[in-house]
């Protein structure tokens, strides 16, 4: 196996193009563990560590955020953010352990696309999109489309996810990330991410993503639309929780049974919406 630390994106793309199955190395928290257990044996590792700018978070003029693929969980945990963007530090805090948060990256997590990982769920709720660079050019697509299946994205061999972009938070907005796991720092058994904004007492916009229960984060457009212009009553929340519990495609695994996930989703959805709603209401006052 050979190992490179290119200092530009172009150089990195060139190195990836040279050998089939060459892999990008971001934080290495999953890839290196898989190599150690001999699940994968890439012939080449291309570290993204020395490419300038990929570990930066940039505030966009419209109030959105653009963060490099190498931004670590720890950096996001300490991010000072507004409104619904506070979902970012709240999510980061609940990932793994300090050592992993110091090395693990948001881009690495999205590219690995583990259905139980935290960033896909949280960033789908924030309506994030991803920037992908390849030898033939660049593209941008919504994260929800980038994530195709469990451990599968639209990323082609030789491509690099370079940035993640998050639209501006609404005027009176808040988020909440409610994670349920067997122990602290474990992958989610069920996670619910909510991003919403209020207009007066009523819901202006809301996105709810359920993680850990399907190959990719689950949303229910119709149920979300049904919440807009409501005051998010308990009955409203129950309805959306129940519809999400139907929409998920859970499987039995070592963390819990599929049936259990369907049992807890409505309550956790209600908990997450309530939390986000309370936060946004406080912001309004």
């Amino acid at each position: 196996m050979d190992y490179f630390r290119p200092e530009s994106l172009e150089e990195a793309l060139g190195l990836l193009a040279e050998i089939p199955d060459a892999r990008c190395l971001a934080g290495g928290q999953t890839l290196v563990a898989m190599m150690n257990t001999r699940i994968v044996a890439p012939p080449r590792l291309v570290s993204l560590r020395d490419i300038p700018g990929l570990d930066q978070i940039e505030a966009l003029p419209n109030g959105g955020l653009r963060m490099g693929t190498m931004v670590t969980h720890e950096t996001l945990m300490n991010l000072s953010a507004n409104g619904a963007h506070r979902l970012l530090p709240e999510t980061a805090r609940q990932i793994a352990s300090p050592a992993i948060r110091a090395f693990g990256t948001v881009g690495g997590a999205l590219c690995h696309a583990d259905p139980a990982a935290d960033w896909p769920t949280a960033l789908v709720a924030l309506d994030a999109s991803v920037h992908v660079a390849g030898i033939d050019g660049k593209r941008r697509e919504p994260l929800a489309e980038f994530l195709v299946d469990a451990l599968t994205t639209t990323l082609e061999p030789g491509e690099i996810l370079t940035h993640i972009e998050i639209p501006p938070p609404g005027q009176t907005s808040a988020g909440a990330y409610v994670k349920f796991a067997r122990v602290e720092g474990d992958f989610a058994t069920v996670a619910v991410a909510v991003s919403l904004s209020l207009s007066g007492p009523t819901c202006e916009a809301i996105r709810i993503a359920v993680g850990g229960c399907s190959p990719v984060p689950t949303r229910d457009d119709a149920a979300e639309t049904g919440l807009v212009s409501t005051e998010l009553s308990e009955a409203d929340m129950q309805a959306v929780g129940n519809s999400l519990a139907t929409a998920i495609q859970p499987e039995d695994d070592g963390r819990a049974s599929a049936a259990y996930r369907r049992m807890v989703v409505p309550g956790l959805v209600q908990r997450a919406i309530t939390l986000a709603h309370d936060r946004a209401s406080e912001a309004r006052i």
């Binding site: 257990t37 001999r38 352990s97 349920f180 067997r182 122990v183 602290e184 720092g185 474990d186 058994t189 070592g254 819990a256 049974s257 259990y260 049992m263 807890v264 309550g267 956790l268 908990r271």
Partner: protein, 771 residues
């Protein structure tokens, strides 16, 4: 001794002797060791739960550059060893009996090569029908897991065993059948407990070297150099005098290293190659190849009178021993001895068996059969309290053993702080208030209790106290400190026996070429048993010091008094004083010879009373000196997820006397945390005989953030007359009552009693929603 600092010894919360090295990263564990020319080894595990080995081709592996030896079952001596039944070999011979069972070993110049070569070994198997559950093992016509069982060497007195049965035993007192009629309430339940992985921080590891004469030296993580020596002697067909076992610092064991682990195969590789060989398991190999706690099914029927007087208790336990017998007979016997609990119950019938299955073999694990039965018994008592609308602590107090009462089997309990433990946890927990405390929104809240008992006296041990020329001391016991702190405690006992500061006591690391016999670290016994040997060996040295002093002072030995800081003098004559250095110098160079105090003993407590109890096939000649505890757990149960959050644990333990209170508290806290893992999340699982979670990613132990900060250890001192400075033990009890206390608290919170461990959120939620 005016102006001198206080002597540090018994009763002081001294830091561990090894704390600096461990915290500073200087402690050198077995895997840190290196010998010139050393090879690295790796093991291949069986892919099938039960299969016959048809053929094996190792030629490709041997051809890989760097590979120095490949061993399979066909290449090793067929010497079998074991605890009660000699059924184990270093590698599977002809038949594999669990997934992960070592079937081949490779030594190579580096670890990566050794592991790579594993993939080049070609085995051909004929799969057999695996026996995966207790019921399948006991079914009529079940396949025999050990077809040559009848030919194995066995310890006598185990009776006739059914197919796939490893042991069957019973303890019967009174007349249970007749007693049910006297009961106003009878509770009957079946409890199931899971296999728990030891998850010691240091995976099993050994380094072996063979000299020109064929003498074998093995550095390894273990709980007893003498057990390693004995098992290696058996496995290798060598006299014990040709086997030297040394123990570097051990990174936890919890019972999992009480027998041999990877030592036999490591030695065989060293013998084969003529070079030193080191073998350290990966975490997954360790979880798949080594041992677990016994899963078990416990059927219990318990009856009481309307006033709460316990009358009858009938318990039948079946332990799943996995593929090899190991210590299963001892685990079963000890489980039965603990199955009545610390209560006066006149009629008891305690029966049980252990069976083979095609799964990882089960072995000793903190509690040693006790947590399994206590999960049943302590929930039974709680349920009786519910039915009788009695306070669960009051009910226990009403039936609690006291000093002078009889243990099941008829021994008199020599010191019993059980009542005090119950009273102390009740007070510390502010019990009446918390029993009524309201739950937060979306939660249910509960608090309850479990009683705990255990032993600390069994088997043999010895100690040597040598007085060096300058009057300082070298203490040698052969006891292995597996992280629990016994080195420090034994040094404290030695120091205080001689009225010296602990800084003047040097402790010898365990080495079978140098250290006197000690059965092992287990059974909560080191402080009590080895401590007794140390105290008496120090006393023997002191007698010699006294004799020298009386000769120098020209007075009667009885008039010689021991004074602080390594001095003796004449009673009533303060100015007449000699130092240990002066006396030891005389002994070394003038008369008498160097002062060496020794003491050896084997557990000498009361025997069981055959007139009182019928005990069939009980595996221990003598065992006893009982310790007690009471554990209160307060929980909050989430109504959405069923997750049990532990808010507080109060854990009171009768330790006789705390030699080192901080170390005692540490043992209690560690036991509670491991008990919470057992209660709430830890479970080894299999699917069709394949382990499904043998990694730290899939098998979850509680981490720092999952552990309540409010674990309140409470020390109760009952002063055991036979113990060193009154001490008993505390190694295991902190774990034993946690699971039933959690289940009792969940029952208090939700009204639902859960009878299967672990109490996962899913099992709790299902029970709550079915209520």
């Amino acid at each position: 001794m005016d102006g001198e600092a206080k002597l540090r010894g018994v009763g002081d919360s001294l830091p561990r002797l090894d704390a600096g090295d461990k915290v500073g990263g200087r402690a050198r564990y077995t895997d840190d060791l290196f010998r010139p020319g050393m090879l690295h080894a790796a093991l291949m595990g069986s892919p099938y739960p039960f299969a016959r080995i048809i053929s094996c081709d190792t030629s490709e592996a041997l051809a890989l550059p760097g590979v120095k030896a490949v061993l399979t079952g066909a290449d090793i001596p067929a010497n079998r060893w074991g605890g009660f039944i000699n059924d184990e070999t270093a590698l599977a011979i002809d038949i594999v009996r669990y997934v992960g069972e070592p079937i081949a070993a490779i030594a190579a110049t580096d670890l990566a090569t050794a592991r790579e070569a594993l993939d080049l070994i070609e085995f051909e198997f004929e799969e057999l029908d695996p026996v995966l559950t207790i019921d399948a093992a006991m079914a009529d016509g079940a396949p025999l897991i050990h077809e040559n069982f009848a030919e194995y060497e066995k310890r006598p007195g185990q009776g006739d065993l059914a197919p796939n049965q490893v042991s069957r035993q019973s303890i019967i007192e009174g007349d249970v059948e007749a007693a049910w009629a006297d009961c106003n309430v009878v509770v009957e339940n079946t409890y199931e407990v899971q296999a728990q992985s030891h998850v010691y921080i240091e995976p099993c590891s050994a380094l072996a070297e063979v000299d020109e004469s064929g003498k074998v030296t093995v550095w390894s993580a273990n709980q007893s150099i003498y057990k390693v020596q004995a098992s290696l002697s058996k496995a290798l067909g060598l006299p014990m005098s040709k086997v030297r076992a040394i123990t570097p610092p051990v990174g936890g064991a919890f019972g999992g290293k009480s027998g041999v682990t990877v030592q036999p195969i490591t030695v065989m590789l060293a013998q084969k190659t003529g070079r030193p060989v080191k073998l350290t398991l990966s975490r997954t190999d360790d979880m798949m190849m080594m041992r677990s706690r016994h899963a078990a099914r416990v059927r219990v029927r318990t009856g009481a009178m309307a006033d709460g007087t316990l009358v009858a208790h009938e318990l039948d336990v079946i332990y799943d021993g996995g593929a090899y017998a190991e210590d299963s007979a001892a685990v079963l016997g000890f489980g039965l001895l603990m199955a009545r609990g610390p209560y006066n119950i006149p009629h008891v019938k305690l029966t049980g068996s252990a069976v083979y299955t095609n799964k990882l073999r089960a072995g000793g694990f903190r509690g040693f059969g006790n947590p399994q039965v206590t999960f049943g018994t302590e929930q039974q008592i709680d349920e009786i309290a519910v039915r009788l609308k009695m306070d669960p602590i009051d009910l226990r107090l009403k039936n609690a053993l006291q000093t002078g009462d009889l243990w099941v089997g008829g021994q008199t309990v020599t010191s019993c702080g059980f009542r005090e433990c119950l009273e102390q946890v009740r007070d510390a927990a502010d019990w009446p208030t918390r029993r009524q405390a309201p739950a937060a929104n979306g939660k249910r809240r509960g608090i309850s209790v479990a009683g705990v008992s255990h032993i600390c006296g069994l088997l043999g041990t010895s100690a040597i106290v040598r007085v060096l020329e300058d009057g300082t001391i070298t203490l040698n016991t052969g006891a292995v400190d597996i992280g629990q702190g016994s080195d420090t405690v034994l040094a404290q006992i030695c120091a205080s026996s001689l009225r010296l500061d602990i800084g003047r006591v040097n402790l010898v690391a365990p080495d079978s070429d140098a250290s006197p016999y000690n059965w092992g670290t287990g059974g909560t016994r080191v402080t009590y048993m080895v401590g007794r040997a140390v105290e008496s060996a120090a006393g023997a040295a002191l007698e010699q010091i006294r004799q020298h002093a009386s000769e120098i002072f020209e007075c009667a030995p009885a008039d010689v008094e021991l004074r602080d800081g390594g001095h003796v003098g004449i009673v009533g004559v303060p100015e007449k004083e000699l130092s240990f250095a002066e006396i030891s110098g005389r002994a070394h160079y003038v008369t008498g010879g160097p002062i060496i105090g020794t003491h050896a003993l084997v557990y000498d407590g009361q025997e069981f009373d055959p007139k009182r109890a019928l005990m069939d096939h009980f595996p221990f000649a003598r065992i006893g000196t009982y310790v007690f505890g009471a554990q209160v757990v307060e929980v909050e149960v989430d109504e959405v997820t069923g997750q049990v959050e532990v808010l507080n644990v109060w854990s009171a333990h009768d330790v006789g006397r705390a030699i080192n209170p901080a170390a005692v508290e540490g043992q209690i806290q560690g036991g509670v945390v491991q008990g919470l893992g057992y209660a709430l999340c830890e479970e080894l699982t299999w699917e069709d005989g394949q382990p499904t979670n043998p990694t730290m990613m899939d098998y979850k132990v509680p981490g720092a953030l999952d552990t309540p900060t409010n674990i309140h250890p409470i020390i109760v001192e009952s002063e055991e007359e036979t113990g060193p400075f009154g001490a008993k033990g505390v190694g295991e009890p902190g774990l034993v009552g946690v699971a039933p206390a959690v289940a009792n608290a969940v029952a208090h919170a939700t009204g639902v009693r859960l009878t299967r461990l672990p109490l996962t959120p899913e099992s709790v939620l299902r029970a709550m929603t079915a209520e």
